[in-house]
């Protein structure tokens, strides 16, 4: 992938991620979130992870997105009113984030192996979905069952949470 396209996708991803946390209206935040996730799917494809790119679009761009919009509209959330901000908390938050970014750059540029180019991949007749399926069902069969059970439990839990009358 050309560096130009990479930086375009990174820029879209970060700008819309900032849009998520900067927008006052929750619907605008949710729509920014999906654009950010679609750019992230583009980055997955640039890393030759085509299957994960497709899953990212289907699960996040489709399912999670619809859930968020559905809940926002169900609760009928309006754009937030400006409230009195706790400036000490905001200042503390910004300091923590800036320190995190500084450490991130220090660690990433101190990591010597990271500046090497990605090794070339050999072309195989099977796509990467085939290899992921083989790894998933051969080496990670038990975790797959556990995750399936987890989803079952989660869906039952959601039904119980939304049925019960809370007092």
């Amino acid at each position: 992938m050309s560096p130009f396209l990479f930086w375009i996708f990174v820029a879209i991803m970060l700008v819309f991620a900032i849009g998520v946390i900067a927008n006052r209206s929750p619907v605008a935040s949710a729509l920014s979130l999906v654009v950010s996730f679609l750019a992230l799917a583009g980055l997955y494809v640039s890393l030759d992870a085509f299957f994960l790119g497709a899953i990212q679009v289907l699960v996040y761009g489709g399912a999670v997105m619809v859930l968020f919009l559905f809940i926002i509209m169900l609760l009928d959330l309006k754009a937030e009113r400006m409230r009195k901000v706790n400036s000490a908390a905001v200042l503390g938050g910004l300091v923590v984030i800036l320190l995190f970014v500084k450490i991130l750059f220090d660690v990433s540029y101190g990591f010597q192996g990271g500046v090497a180019q990605f090794p070339a991949l050999t072309q195989t007749p099977q796509g990467d979905a085939w290899y992921i399926g083989m790894t998933l069902f051969r080496q990670y069969n038990l975790p797959l069952q556990v995750v399936g059970t987890l989803i079952l439990v989660a869906s039952i839990g959601v039904v119980i949470l939304s049925k019960r009358e809370l007092k």
Binding site: P3, F6, V10, L14, A17, I18, V20, I21, P26, L33, S36, F37, L43, L47, D48, A49, F51, L52, I55, V64, L67, F68, I71, I72, L75, L77, E80, R83, V90, G93, I97, F100, V101, L104, S108, F111, G114, V115, A116, Q117, F118, P119, L121, T122, D128, Y131, I132, M134, T135, L136, Q139, Y140, L150, I151, S155, G157, V158, L161, R164, L166
Partner: protein
């Protein structure tokens, strides 16, 4: 040329943005979206390392399977979390964190 470091920086910046959302916003739904951003940032660095660790001309598919599991668990987590938020809204009529101080010491 795009290197692993560029992907790690992009993933870290996405994580920082999500972190900022959790720390600075007070709307519980926005905080939940920012949590999703942080999960996805972790996924991006995992896929980057998977592409970096090439063996026999193939990327490391263990990492991609881990990302697959993370996406699955995150989808379940979104469903449960939003159900909790709906239950919270029915009980308290608010999604603003400063109005939810029952557990505050």
């Amino acid at each position: 040329m795009v290197t692993l470091n560029d992907y790690l920086i992009a993933s870290g910046l996405l994580f920082a943005v999500g972190f900022a959302g959790v720390l600075l916003r007070r709307n519980i739904i926005i905080i939940f979206m920012a949590l999703e951003l942080m999960l996805n940032a972790a996924n991006l660095s995992l896929v980057g390392f998977s592409r970096y660790n090439v063996q026999n001309g193939l990327p490391d598919y263990n990492a991609q399977v881990l990302v697959f599991f993370i996406i699955t668990v995150a989808a379940a987590e979104v469903a449960v979390g939003l159900a909790i938020i709906v239950a919270l809204f029915r009980a308290k009529q608010t999604t603003h964190l400063e109005d939810l101080n029952t557990l505050k010491f």
